[in-house]
Subunit: 485 residues, 2 copies
């Protein structure tokens, strides 16, 4: 039982501060829009004003509030931030007329903040630069948010085995490095910023414009996948750019504590981490199989087959969603493998979505252990991760998460099918959004978009993006009557 | 660790006895073949002879063996029985020339003994009566085998939460009723026989021929689904027959201990059982939704919509596989619901396959409990079933089973897709066999058959039938090196 009533005042106050933050980022976007001098300037400025006024009023009204945030307030804030940010973040698209339907604009914005990357746009190049920048920036902000959330806040809330993360990463955990969340957050954001700058510079070397380089760096590091081009990364038609983006997608799908060790050149620590080794192992395993398939069934040479294969595998397993090739054009066996890794997702503590490598690995390890238990019924056979014994409660939590994830996937597919999608596209739309990937399968592959999904479907898929991003339980617990007692 | 080396002599002896049993049933089939006087007589007699000789020699060679069967011998015998029975049981089909390919005959026979019902035949009416009778009889024998296995042997081996069954059924468990397995088995077989006779008589009232009535009663009670007609139950075009078969499919998908109470008119005990209530609840829930869909999208009236709906729902959830309508012709939303219940399966301790209602319910209940645990992190929130607390070990075993089942489903789909099936058909072929259902989705719906699957695919699907039938772990444990140490 919770000890106190919900502290609504602190909720309003925290959300008010976040609205002020969104207002500042909208003003930065306004500056970009001024440079390009297109029709989106007023819409962005008005949105910044609305966000700023909401933020200021919320803070003024709650000046003397008790600032203590409990666990329950934590759940509510985490879920509401993404929703409110999307409600306001969608305004520039609709006010400017670039995306006339508010449903579409909300979908596009929720897809941004959740780093999903599913788009309703069918002519991206027609959108003014300011709005394109805003579209990439919200992904970058969403990525930032999720790192802090997954490394600092969710473990404390005890969501689906995520507490394992803080306990089991080798070496000092972020909390121990910097006992206060604020400091941890600052350190993580700095790393995130550094990688974004590094990628921007490397992309500039590949003859990308500064605008495209910044945008793609934003959405790579967020594993978001919004591109400034309708053809995504395929537009640039450059092996160099493909490999640079592949490398940074791999980094973005890595636990950020490990990325920190990597930056400090402590590679031994990185490679000692079991989740990282499986993550790299999965990427190589699937890339090499698909390279073989593409080489023998396609027209490209070995290098092109390998590059297309590893780019798409990394793009999907990290849930980024960039495309250099349309895997729905491959033989079914190849895109089926892509479909399978849609469930894997990135590492815990990265910006990637999906079930997460750690949970997949622990589910497999526990399955193996079940056999050992059958053979030696009286022996205690623990599951180990990073050399440590994982408690049975955490295992049950992880298995429950996997089963619940699949349950939502199935229910979602039924609902999307009732809305009118064919079977493959229904599955594709659900995993693309629930896994925060972007492209799916069927009629929602990499070269398609979500424009023609019925309105009800767009709102439902937006909800799936949210619960997928926030590890399911965080959001759904709010619908449990016991939570509000 | 196991205390002793594997007792190979007792393995040979037990399997020898079972070969003698198969020989006897082949002789009964020979008697049926004599009545109809078709070309299959010699093939059946020769097969009976081969089976009898193998059995007799095996028993003679092991006359003085130690008759103690340990846990490890249990695993081996259980898996081998199904394989050896199918190897020999396929002979009549090939020797007679009715099914020239031995691969096809083995597939058909394994599909029989595992009560799957997937068929490679595309002209069932052309098969002589003796072989048709054998085809139904092996399903009936397989069903008998599985009841004894799931109620008496698997709980002792501790497979994936099945031990729960013996512990938690209200009232005296089969073991306590009759402490020795042999007696329990006899009692269960008697109930099985009684229901088969009752259904035969009721079908005779519906103007079925005695031959068709016996065959359909055999394959209903086994939840097997082999029909003597290419069009399955739709051939008879009779509302009475549809409802009779629906009723007996429901009985066959019920825990046989409950069926025993039902026979003794102790209905209160039956309805108090939680798995039974969920089982009936699932059937009504899905039947009513699909009735609505069929009524509004189809051309039949309300009764016809309801009858088609409940027949198909019951046929699939019990994993029987009879058809009175081709659900692949329904709107996608309707057949998608059918696809979902393919994973459910019948009750534990019934002849039905699939994941089993008990495991589905416990996985859902545990998911709900996870929420409670998040809200009250320090409280102990147990999962209850039939009013009893389920131990966390059993829950972990059940969740691991569900995850492992889905893992095999996904891997199987990839393999069948590599063999050349399209995505839907690959999924359909795997769940149809792994779940011991018969018909699947895609090009393997109720009005299709498995004739055109490539040879490698037929052997792989036969393997899936086996592991699906024996609760996965029973078979796969044999491939674990630790088992043989």
């Amino acid at each position: 039982m919770f000890k106190n009533n919900i502290n609504f005042k602190v909720l309003v106050r925290v959300l008010g501060s976040l609205f002020l933050l969104e207002s500042i980022f909208l003003l930065i976007t306004y500056a970009v829009a001024l440079i390009y001098d297109e029709y989106d300037q007023n819409a962005i400025l008005i949105s910044a004003g609305i966000s700023g006024i909401i933020g200021a009023v919320s803070r003024l009204l709650t000046r003397n509030s008790n600032t203590e945030i409990g666990k329950r307030e934590g759940y509510i804030i985490v879920s509401l931030v993404w929703v409110f940010f999307s409600i306001v973040g969608a305004l520039p698209f609709t006010l400017s007329g670039a995306i006339p339907s508010y449903t579409d604009a909300f979908f596009e914005t929720m897809s941004g903040f959740t780093t999903t990357g599913a788009s309703i746009l069918n002519d991206i190049e027609a959108i003014p630069h300011g709005l394109l920048f805003w579209r990439s920036l919200i992904q970058w902000l969403g990525g930032m948010g999720i790192i802090v959330l997954s490394l600092a806040i969710l473990p404390m809330l005890g969501i689906g085995g995520m507490q394992l993360f803080t306990a089991e990463v080798p070496g000092p955990t972020p909390d121990k490095l910097h006992p206060r969340i604020k400091q941890t957050a600052k350190r993580l954001w700095l790393i995130y910023l550094l990688f974004t700058i590094a990628e921007t510079i490397l992309l500039l070397f590949g003859d990308m414009s500064l605008f495209d380089a910044v945008n793609h760096a934003f959405t790579t590091m967020a594993t978001g996948g919004y591109s400034t081009k309708q053809d995504s990364v395929a537009y640039f038609n450059s092996a160099y750019i493909d490999y640079v983006i592949t490398l940074f997608m791999i980094i973005a799908g890595t636990n950020f504590t490990l990325a920190y060790f990597g930056l400090k050149l402590k590679f031994r620590k990185v490679f000692k981490n079991e989740e990282f080794r499986y993550y790299i192992g999965f990427i190589l395993f699937f890339s090499l199989i698909i390279t073989g398939i593409l080489y023998f069934t396609g027209t490209g040479g070995l290098e092109k087959s390998f590059r297309d294969s590893i780019f798409q595998v990394v793009s999907i397993i990290t849930t980024t969603g960039f495309a250099t090739a349309d895997y729905m054009q491959w033989v079914p066996f190849a895109w089926l493998l892509i479909f399978v890794i849609m469930f894997f997702g990135g590492s815990a503590g990265s910006t990637g979505g999906g079930i997460k490598v750690m949970r997949i690995v622990l589910a497999i390890k526990n399955g193996y252990t079940e056999f050992k238990r059958l053979i030696h019924p009286n022996a205690i056979v623990p599951v180990r991760f990073n050399g440590q014994i994982v408690s049975p409660n955490v295992i049950t939590g992880i298995l429950a998460f996997v089963v619940f994830y699949i349950f939502i996937f199935i229910t979602g597919t039924i609902i999307m099918s009732a809305i009118g999608l064919d079977f493959e596209s229904a599955m594709g739309s659900v995993i693309a959004t629930l896994g925060n990937i972007g492209p799916g399968i069927g009629k929602l592959g990499p070269s398609a978009n979500f424009h023609d999904i019925p309105t009800a479907g767009k709102w439902f898929l937006s909800f799936l993006m949210l619960i997928g991003r926030l590890e399911l339980f965080t959001v759904i617990i709010l619908f449990s009557p016991a939570f509000w007692k």
